[in-house]
Symmetry: D2
Subunit: 347 residues, 4 copies
């Protein structure tokens, strides 16, 4: 049994961490911080936890936090970078769900996040927490940068194609659709039910913060430059991301639906949380609601010589809190699926 | 470890039983029947079970069914009454989620369900599976009639008032709002997204099958006649029931919000799945989505001398599959919450 | 052709007024104010008006406002009371969609709205703009207090019963369900899609500002005291109110479904915007989405001697902007339905 | 004033035609057919028409139909082809909203629609009813094939790029998201609220009937072959299509956001129902709900040398019934926007 603390757990990533950790047999959450809600019972803020978590929010300076074995940051960007070092120095492992340690190029990070990075040294040390890529590195890491929600789905959809040099890496497209919880719990007019329901729209067409993160992952896989057009869409639902990825195949004569299917099945064989669907079946975000699974469907459009790969995940689970726990399980040597056995809620 | 079979598991109650039983440490599901889908892999029909349940639908006559320790009926009405006796004779326990054994007055049942009852003897034996009322009887029962979704919420909301003679039992009103999953998975135009979303409407104002079931429970508590006006509403959401119950208090001079609150807290003290909210807090169905909890809020409107009790539940869990499993746990002497620990999915 | 101005048109009532007035053949909107958005093109804020309204938001002090023939207030409460007198003095008619002039008892208003009323004289002069009750008074009024959304539906549902002394006015219940647009366009966390969709909840059970307004209307009809229990609910949809009203009949022996039906048909004969549904048909809010119609269904539950009346309206149209325009049409001697001919959007 | 008949008006396209035609000053609907509902009052089936349309459904053989000046087919495919010739022979104009006359290549049509075409002669005569392309031909046409919903949005999004040879026509991608009403009013399980809400999924990735129709339009514009990858998605909302189109620019050195913007503004100058949004603004389907407008946003992603064009429409209006009426207005020499002045319902 270890002890866990969560910094900044008042949003959707926070409540999802709490939901999952409260059922984790090896973890006791004993500190949850929020400057604004300090002193309030956590279940008062998150009523689904009534009777399941007997804890109050603490101020971020709470000493109990420093005694935790693992610290999760569920904060906006530019918070974890200020205090991660101190927790690491105290001997804790740190799992950051924000963007602070995801991008290795500090200039690039500073440009997208609009502030100076205060802890570039730890960026170099941090391990990008995508178990399907970095499982071994995660095992020994002190500091994990949990991938963003879009980057998780899009990398899982494209990596097998790129690693096997099956497609033209200079002409990739990811058309991604996210539920509104991806925007967090902030009270902005555009995410009101009356604005966001019964409508779909694209946003950040000119550029999105997850773009450099995705490209970094894809370029690492290829060992060279990758060009990706990425358009995210706000979809009228609470949870879920569907990424529809388009990649022109490199050698149409050698390509077939079966060949692509095998490449994906091989790549993800044994992965506990990636399900390559049988050929011809298509994913839906409802199939993974509340679960840590990412469903992938591989299609080949012969006429346009195009691989179309669909990846569906719950943005708050495999796209955030679930993946963080998967990393924790690896770091502590536990079964990778511990605490993540929950089956998706359908309907 | 016991073995369980589910008859007719192709609808929403069925998939919810499968979701919950698949995570239950003491149960192995080894037979799931559907005449129509016999031979199809269950996860092909319910994709949230992919990788979690390796079973095909069997024909209803499958011998494996007869060997199960417990049989769940997730069928439309008038199915369980035809074969429950045979399974009981074979030594199994039977938990019927349909209406076949809920109403003790056979004439009344036949009138509402429009067919002759083929097994009146078992109606007399069956225990109405509301643990908050019949826990001891459930322990020793061979046959459980799991309450309907509306009856669960409305009885839990009204019982403490009636048992304590606090209200006028001749003037009760239950205005209930249900998500669309209450109608099942049948392909009827009125439940299409384009018909049922972005709208609310009442239905069955002239009379609903759950009315006699609710009244039977309330009259048992009172030991005399009860008059209830019950109006169900179709609400544009997937899961959840909110029952808003109105009961004129018998003795306004002696009544207060605190007194009502205490009556409810006393009545449900120790209940694992009833949460009486602190005075002034109101429930929302989202707070219990996917969990077996029923949240109850008691209010007293002094000016109109009216108790207003709100009960929120997930109609597929506490209103169906979860309650069935709660009964099973009691029947087999296990911890009542086993397999029902899942925390509600919020948001 | 007259000119119209709208004060504070940045919310949902405002955009609905603009949608309807832009199609009104006798009205030209030539001033729309918003302190915050002054200088911004109106269609930039409300994109559905692109190409249909060539106007910028003005500051509230804009001289153009003073020159309008009619001024609509689509402001929060406590704004219209500060400047209505000045516009009336300038010769304009004023139609206030806020609560400032609805409640004749100033003490009561001040208690519910938490501020001193700055213009009690005009409260006495203002006509409550429910055409089905006050058509003749509206014709000659200078100042209209447009009813609230809940009060419109609930009064239309109960008035025929009370005016005809058919029910016990001391035991009325209105269980009302509103879409989220009833809360306006303010960015509060509770109205985010992730909080308000897929859930239903009651609110303001202890007391709601519309309660005294409804009671005032009902008591005027009865000529004596009325006791009403009113519970509003937040429903996961954008538009629409469904009020389910319960009223115990006074003389069950003389009562029947037909008798109640006739009372409603008589009461609303010739009303352009009240549709009494044929006996046995039930309304749904989707049937009146975007239209000024209020659908009413009358039911008699013999066993409980209860009249159950359902009223469905679009809260932004018959519950706000449409009713305001209906009043304007009456005030200016035009056909009452001018500009309100739009048929509801279904699906 | 002309008379109009609608064949097969029991679905969503039918009710939308009725909503719009009922407000059209030059048209009287005097025959609406449905074999199944013959004898039923139309508003009984479509309650939004209560009090606005006093007509019963007739059998398809109704003589009144033959006397109409214009006949709309709102039928499934393979119906209009059986009787269009007879109505044309009788002197009526025919506007077919189904797919029967859209595709000029009969073999291709038969392959996609799985039946023999019974009226190839009329395919040759029919005019494809996209006013932005065929306005002059529509004026003199006897028979109009109204474009499909996806083809309308996607052609409007891509035509300016192709007509001006700005992009590589061999590498086009259209990722389209449709509300559930696109599937019609048929009672299929996959379109139930419980299946289709709170989820997004792709479908028909391997091939969709609208693909050849879109390609036909694009190839006509280019005068040569076009390769398009088209992936439609089912989106959890009632109405609306958003098409996100990707086209690699032919000459990146000569390309810029401004240049693309001008190409679109020039192309659609004066078009009553195409709104090219100002640079940097992005469309949302809610902005055109219930209106005949198609909103278009042109974006240039310099890094990937990609034009990204977004088109939003209401699939039942500009994507079906509204476009049909726009064609009718042109055919009869009326103002093109008559009966289509309705402003979108927002929120």
């Amino acid at each position: 049994m270890i002890t866990a603390g969560i910094v900044g757990a008042t949003g959707y990533t926070g409540v999802e961490l709490l939901r999952l950790l409260s059922s984790h047999s090896h973890v006791e959450v004993n500190c949850v911080t929020s400057r604004e809600l300090a002193g309030t019972a956590v279940p008062r803020h998150f009523p689904n936890l009534r009777g399941r978590l007997d804890l109050e929010f603490s101020a971020p300076e709470a000493p109990a936090l420093g005694e935790c074995d693992v610290i999760f940051f569920a904060t906006p960007h530019a918070v974890a970078m200020k205090s991660a070092a101190q927790f690491l120095a105290g001997g804790a492992r740190v799992i950051d769900l924000s963007a602070d340690f995801r991008i290795r190029d500090i200039d690039c990070w500073e440009q997208w996040y609009g502030t100076a990075h205060e802890c570039p040294d730890l960026v170099a040390e941090a391990v990008y927490g995508l178990p399907e890529v970095n499982r071994e590195l995660i095992r020994d890491a002190r500091l994990i940068a949990v991938p963003g929600c879009y980057p998780t789905a899009i990398q899982l959809a494209l990596l097998p194609l790129l690693e096997n040099r099956l497609v033209d890496e200079s002409r990739l497209i990811a058309d991604a659709k996210s539920g509104v919880s991806g925007a967090g719990r902030k009270a902005a007019a555009e995410y009101l039910l009356c604005e966001a329901s019964e409508s779909i729209s694209a946003y950040a067409v000119a550029g999105h913060r997850h773009h450099p993160e995705i490209v970094q992952g894809l370029e690492t896989a290829v060992g060279g430059p990758v060009t990706l057009t990425f358009v995210p869409h706000l979809t009228p639902m609470i949870r879920g991301i569907l990424a529809t990825c388009y990649a022109p195949v490199r050698d149409p004569d050698a390509c077939s639906a079966e060949m692509l299917q095998h490449a994906f099945e091989r790549r993800f064989a044994g992965e506990p949380f990636v399900q390559v669907l049988p050929q011809g079946e298509l994913p839906a975000t409802r199939e993974v609601r509340g679960s840590n699974v990412c469903e992938i469907s591989v299609n080949y459009i012969e006429k346009s010589e195009m691989a179309v790969v669909l990846a569906a995940e719950d943005n708050l689970v495999k796209g955030a809190a679930g993946q963080a726990i998967q990393c924790m399980n690896i770091m502590f040597g536990w079964e990778e699926s511990r605490g993540l056995e929950g089956i998706g809620l359908l309907p």
